[in-house]
């Protein structure tokens, strides 16, 4: 698929995620994180199932055929949620957000570089390291902008 098109799609997905975070943040405050997450996940599962019924072409390999470790993705999401619920009140939202992004990108670079989990290997280049530095700087600006508007 066209690289630029794919990038635009991913950026749009980030925007969608941001809308979801805004909606779910409010929901979580009123009904609790567990219930709001369960709602998100179950509606997500139902929607995806409907889409599969009507639009997914038949696949040669099913979810039951792949190695079981490939199905553990959701565990990481749930663990993330639990850690954040416990940690955010102690370390503060700002520090927690930065720590998550550091972990996310660090691990992302590692998986890319070594081609872990069956992913194509993308070597860690000079421009990738510079990009990391720019992101770190961006986080500093985000942090400063939020402490100022408070």
């Amino acid at each position: 698929m066209n690289l630029i098109l794919l990038l635009v799609l991913v950026i749009a997905a980030g925007a969608v995620l941001s809308v979801q975070a805004a909606i779910n943040g409010r929901l979580g405050q009123t009904v609790g994180v567990l219930r709001s997450s369960l709602l998100t996940f179950s509606v997500g599962a139902l929607t995806t199932a409907l889409l599969i019924f009507f639009f997914e072409p038949a696949q040669a390999v099913s979810l039951l055929d792949v190695p079981k470790w490939q199905l553990t993705g959701a565990l990481f999401g749930v663990v993330y949620m639990i850690v954040m619920v416990g940690a955010v009140p102690v370390v503060g939202t700002a520090v927690a957000t930065v720590a998550v992004i550091v972990g996310q990108l660090g691990m992302g670079m590692l998986i890319d570089n070594f081609g872990w989990l069956g992913n194509p290997a993308i070597e860690l280049s000079g421009s990738r390291i510079v990009a990391m530095a720019l992101l770190a700087l961006a986080l500093v600006f985000m942090y400063r902008s939020n402490t100022r508007t408070d």
């Binding site: 941001s18 691990m107 998986i111 985000m142 939020n146």
Partner: protein, 162 residues
């Protein structure tokens, strides 16, 4: 399926103690887990189809959360059916995000996917804050946030060009 929500960077509560230092590596690990999740999704989507890979996330997640909820006792707050309808639409947005994740990671890598997601989040959150959409408090978007957004886009361009 969650990702870091950068729009929540406000209200830092200073509480300096040992617990804080101990928790920090845990939070970083949790963030690493999100990349592992994305790393699992891409190859899975190639094998079984993107929607099936997405269903694996939401199906397993629903099962775990349901059990957790059952064992955590009565919940505080109003019933879900008493809430304004629009607050429930978050569930439709999640699958869009996960499908795009499975589509993108095999082609552009996990780090670039994460940065692109981040730029979309920051861009959108700037708009949400600016206009106070979805019942959030309306905030003035200052120069720093625009600079942050520009830096993230610059990082994206750098990685895209390799």
């Amino acid at each position: 399926m969650q990702a870091s929500s950068i729009e929540g960077v406000a209200q830092a509560r200073p509480k300096k103690n040992l617990l804080r230092l101990l928790l920090l590596p845990l939070v970083i690990l949790a963030g690493m887990g999100l990349s592992v999740e994305a790393g699992l999704l891409g190859p899975l989507g190639v094998q079984v189809g993107h929607l099936w890979a997405t269903l694996s996330i939401f199906g397993v997640g629903t099962a775990i959360l349901y059990v957790l909820l059952l064992f955590s006792g009565p919940q505080k707050g109003p019933a879900l059916t008493d809430l304004p309808r629009w607050q429930l639409i978050g569930g439709f947005l999640g699958p869009m995000y996960v499908v795009v994740l499975t589509l993108a990671t095999p082609h552009i890598g996990i780090a670039m996917t994460m940065i692109a997601i981040l730029s979309g989040q920051v861009g959108k959150s700037v708009l949400i804050d600016h206009f106070g959409w979805f019942g959030t408090a309306r905030k003035r978007v200052n120069v720093e946030r625009w600079i942050a957004l520009a830096l993230i886009v610059a990082a994206l361009v750098l990685i895209a060009r390799g």
